[in-house]
Symmetry: C2
Subunit: 218 residues, 2 copies
DNA sequence: CATGATAGTGAGTGCTTACTCACAATTTGA
DNA sequence: TCAAATTGTGAGTAAGCACTCACTATCATG
């Protein structure tokens, strides 16, 4: 998959929002699309409703007819992706961890590849999240509950088993998650925001997963 | 040092700006202080010049007398720290790498501790940078040139020596830097933005440095 | 003490902002 | 088929925005 494919990423977000809001009126759909791209490019605060309306080919009033306020528009873009797609993504990660044959390194690498594909699939939304999280406490809580909590609970069990069987030195799940997430997000930012170009995802992830697994051997 | 000490962090930034601008008129100093905190808390775009003036106890016109525009105010906060303090910080990192006795792990750990202390010293400015970098290309170039470029050049040599002597498996300097920086920034965000509280910096850094060093052994 | 420069401000300016509302067009369902 | 609901809009509105300007107060220095 082409990591920079915006059309597909926009379609994925649209599908998620449609799941939460029911069938979308055509201009409502256009507003979502335009807002998604504007927010991702310029940031929420620096994007005017006028510019969204212009990009969507819609009257400004149409935005407020469908979304009430600008803040609500943002939330109704972000929430469906968080609620309907990150949670199932967690299940996917659990399955990978359970099913993948081979050592810890292979499991970590597969998990990271799946999460990277997810971030690409919803690239503009990931950008919005990265920009807004530091200043928007509402989004903060949204992620804390639905994503981090679930992942830590899962990792607590999965890592516990590995540690019990002597394949992993003891490490608290939050720390493991923090380090893994830092490396993955850092890579995603480098590859798709700082220096877009030729990157070998598989190779880079294998390096990071190998580093983690080898570094955590007993 | 107390990582959350805002007074000291503000004083450090003020000193850096004073170095670039000469002795500061009292109200100019107040504006810098207020702007720094407002931008860090709310983000650049969402901060109004009125709110800065109010916080500084100053007329709004005073801001424009001293800084011309809001965009210029931001740049003149960020640039001195980038130019006068990050570059010498690089030298410091080089010295640590050259002087520290012991293995690679100890060197990496000392470098990371020094960088973490730096981030704490200029905490509000680091927050501003993290928020504005994705949407402000001007800051982008500022960091790319003065920080990343220099660090990569230095690491190219330092790592090259370690690799030549068989103490490190071959790894390109940018990748090494990316992974190390990701872990460190990820830790800083977790500790001072996501979940402030009791963190054992030394222990956490030792884990990360150990992971890196062990993971990169030949 | 006179003088020019610097520091500081209250009262604006024109423009942009998020948002409203009366009204028209279209779609829906009984 | 026709009324009710939904979708869409042009023309506003008040508040807020970054920024200007004429003017005063302070201050260093010949």
């Amino acid at each position: 998959m082409n990591p920079g494919d915006l059309t597909e990423a926009v379609a994925a977000v649209l599908a998620a929002v449609e799941g939460a809001e029911g069938r979308l009126a055509p201009k409502k759909r256009a507003v979502i699309e335009a807002a998604l791209l504007c927010f991702a490019e310029t940031g929420y605060a620096a994007t005017s409703t006028r510019s969204i309306a212009h990009r969507a080919g819609v009257a400004e009033a149409t935005i407020f007819r469908h979304f009430g306020t600008k803040a609500d528009l943002l939330l109704r873009l972000v929430r469906p992706v968080a609620a309907r797609l990150i949670q199932p993504g967690l299940v996917e990660a659990q399955e990978i961890f359970a099913e993948t044959e081979g050592n810890l390194e292979a499991k970590i690498a597969r998990m990271m590849k799946a999460r990277l594909a997810f971030a690409d699939r919803y690239a503009p939304l990931v950008r919005i999240l990265l920009q807004e999280l530091p200043v928007n406490p509402e989004l903060h809580g949204l992620l804390q509950d639905s994503v981090i909590g679930g992942l830590v609970r899962f990792l607590d069990i999965a890592l516990g088993e590995e540690i019990a069987q002597g394949r992993l030195r003891p490490i608290p799940a939050p720390r493991f998650l923090r380090i893994l997430a830092s490396m993955l997000i850092g890579y995603w930012i480098a590859r798709s925001m700082v220096a877009p170009g030729d990157w070998d995802d598989a190779a880079e992830i294998d390096v990071m997963a190998g580093l983690l697994a080898r570094g955590l051997k007993p």
